[in-house]
Symmetry: C2
Subunit: 156 residues, 2 copies
């Protein structure tokens, strides 16, 4: 399915560093990895062209912005085949930030970010319940997020 990309140790090191902090200059990153800034530049350009690097995103503290409630929702479908149509409806709800089709107990798994419990209640009760094909849902509200990081990427 996916092409055989020829990434070496340096490519993985660059990705690892910049996944945590994309603001570092090419010159500084080059020093850290014992190559020139020019080489870092060439590698990043290659990684962008082959689609491995998709861009850079601002990392924000959602709590500080008033988004205090994170919840996970396990969704049971009436029929598994309804996945695509239900996913299409769920996509329209801006509070839903992530959606996965999963094996196991639930048919789908969603993550919701809200300002408060009132808004979560609105999403669960008003938005979700009117979507055809959803049998029932189970909600897990996050009381504490103890970890949120990137995976450690390594070559073979």
């Amino acid at each position: 399915m996916s092409y055989k990309l020829n990434l070496d140790k340096l490519d993985f090191q660059i990705i690892q560093e910049m996944m945590e902090n994309a603001e570092i200059s090419y010159a500084d990153l080059g020093k850290k990895l014992f190559v020139s800034g020019g080489t870092i530049h060439v590698r990043i350009k290659k990684l962008e062209e082959c689609g491995v690097v998709k861009g850079t995103r601002l990392s924000v503290d959602l709590k500080a912005l008033g988004y205090d409630v994170i919840a996970f929702i396990g969704i049971f479908l009436e029929k598994s085949s309804l996945y695509d149509t239900v996913a299409k409806e769920l996509r329209k709800i801006p509070e839903i930030v992530r959606l996965n089709y999963t094996t196991g107990n639930y048919s789908m798994f969603a993550e919701v970010v809200c300002k408060d419990i009132k808004q979560l209640r609105f999403v669960l009760h008003d938005e979700l319940q009117k979507i055809k094909g959803i049998e029932r849902t189970e909600t897990f509200i996050s009381l504490d997020e103890s970890l949120n990081r990137n995976v450690v990427v390594v070559g073979e």
Copy 2:
């Protein structure tokens, strides 16, 4: 707990734009939002100082890097009070990228990113099972990720 931050519409607009694409120049973003590049600069500096903006991160295609398997793990603890000690152990496992203490069925909820099923099996069987305090786990393997985006942030 958190300070009353005085963020206006412009702050929220800047955050919204840069959550998706942090590479845009201050001048271009200023044009888009009808202010000068200097104003964008002042606002971002303010947002960094008050901790709302934590930095920028490279967005990568994990599948292209060979990380094909995303799984969610519901964890049942023997006692809820074991949360901190179990979280400390789970933190040591690099494949675990996210960990939440939740209400509902499970005590904790983890997300795992692996190269293949073999590696997932290793995490579940060898790493997780030897942690004291975990009663049992339920695993949900993602067959398809249909959505992964940022929440839409708005002021009051």
